[in-house]
Subunit: 263 residues, 2 copies
């Protein structure tokens, strides 16, 4: 666990390659996007505030961020989580003002891509653009699954489901080790994500641990029994669409494309 912080094998690219195999040029272009105006934020700082005019597309390079909103009377709800490799809204700049906040959960590094840079790069790399579209569709699917969580799952299931989802999403970005992943979420944060009170999150989280499904130590989550956890959460990974769904569009650096049988 005390491994040096490796220059983190670009999370965006690792994730996009769960959709299709990118060519060298596509990878280079993606890396280019991730190199644009990199900025760091400390935990709890806001990257973007409600009412601001969106000017750039942001890509999370490292650390966790979240979308959140307030009700007038102060109730707070987290409506999305950004993990390394996640993109904060392709094309946001079409909107005049943000309707929510984006805040740093941990300390965070983000690339901020201007509209022009974004359009130039994607125009030159249609396959990359398509992979980014896929990312957007998956994000929408994740939002829908969160609606399932809040609307239909019990407290226990919600928390278990969140663990499954984040573990798999981090895995897709190359940020897991065996059955362990970072777990920087405070219980208050989990409460805002799951729509529960902190007290109830505390008790329910304990229940999940006492069922022997997971362990948490030093901000690291370790899943003891992934199948059991997924079952308890009524978790089905299909909505993450991680199965190389754009294989037939692979860059054919080699000759593999012809072998896929798709297309």
């Amino acid at each position: 666990m005390s491994a040096p912080v490796q220059p983190p094998s670009n999370a965006l690219i690792r994730k996009l390659e769960h959709y299709t195999r990118l060519s060298e040029e596509d990878r280079a272009a993606a890396l280019g996007l991730c190199g644009e105006r990199v900025q760091r934020f400390r935990a709890k700082d806001d990257l973007v505030r409600e009412g601001e005019a969106p000017r750039v597309v942001r890509i999370v390079l490292d650390g966790w961020a979240c979308r959140y909103k307030y009700l007038e009377d102060g109730r707070r709800q987290v409506v999305g989580l950004f993990l390394p490799g996640d993109i904060c809204d392709l094309n946001v700049f079409l909107l005049r003002e943000m309707d929510h906040f984006i805040g740093a959960v941990t300390s965070v590094a983000v690339a901020q891509v201007t509209r022009d840079a974004f359009e130039a790069l994607t125009l030159a790399h249609p396959r990359l653009l398509q992979a980014l579209w896929w990312e957007t569709l998956v994000n929408m699917a994740i939002q829908r699954e969160w609606l399932m969580n809040l609307g239909s799952r019990t407290a226990f299931e919600r928390i278990a489901h969140l663990m499954c989802e984040l573990y798999l999403r981090l895995g897709a970005a190359g940020r897991t080790q065996g059955l362990s992943c970072e777990w920087p979420l405070t219980q208050a944060m989990i409460a805002d994500i799951t729509g529960l009170s902190t007290v109830h999150v505390n008790r329910t989280f304990q229940a999940v641990r006492e069922e022997g499904l997971v362990e948490v130590r030093d901000r690291v989550l370790t899943i003891r029994d992934l199948d059991a956890l997924m079952q308890a959460a009524l978790f089905s990974p299909n909505y993450l669409h991680l199965g190389q769904e754009g294989r037939h569009l692979d860059a054919n650096d080699g000759a593999e494309a012809a072998l896929t049988g798709r297309g």
Copy 2:
């Protein structure tokens, strides 16, 4: 209320023009999209089923549809509503299989646009494509607001909020009359949308009526006091982004573009 079914002043175009003013050619292109392979479904039929391969982009021309999912044990959750003029996922065909159902709430007419037709038309009409992007971003914002609903609002607020949202969305599509709009949702449906039981929806719905906020007769909702309803719902319309946010990109058929003061 027994007005003839007027050829319904294309809802998609009316809605998109809340983003930017389209040129005649853009409008023609949009109409072209809406004319592609029109198909009708009866209430409760599925347009798309989970597990299917998405092949076309669907545009709702008339009637209501919904996205929904099941949990393994049968709990059902509606995760989105499609009103006239709404688009069922730009670019879905990038995904290998659907992770949810799309069902007809009322009888519905949809245009089914193939990938090629879609790409050809938008390639030729970049401003239209941009408007469709805006539509997508607004849909994502609506999903987020639904998360607010389920996570943070009380039953009363959820139902009131749903009324506000649908009234304004229908208004943007040109489907309201004064403070009235169609209201085809059964209470069981509202339960699946709001994550409540049908029994509780019934009682809460009554409470909303008894507060004098709304009336429902013959599947028509009439809002008695919009301000009060919005206040009771903690409703803020900003997330619908209906304020001509792309004005500076208007088609300059005439000379208005120069007058907007934006850009």
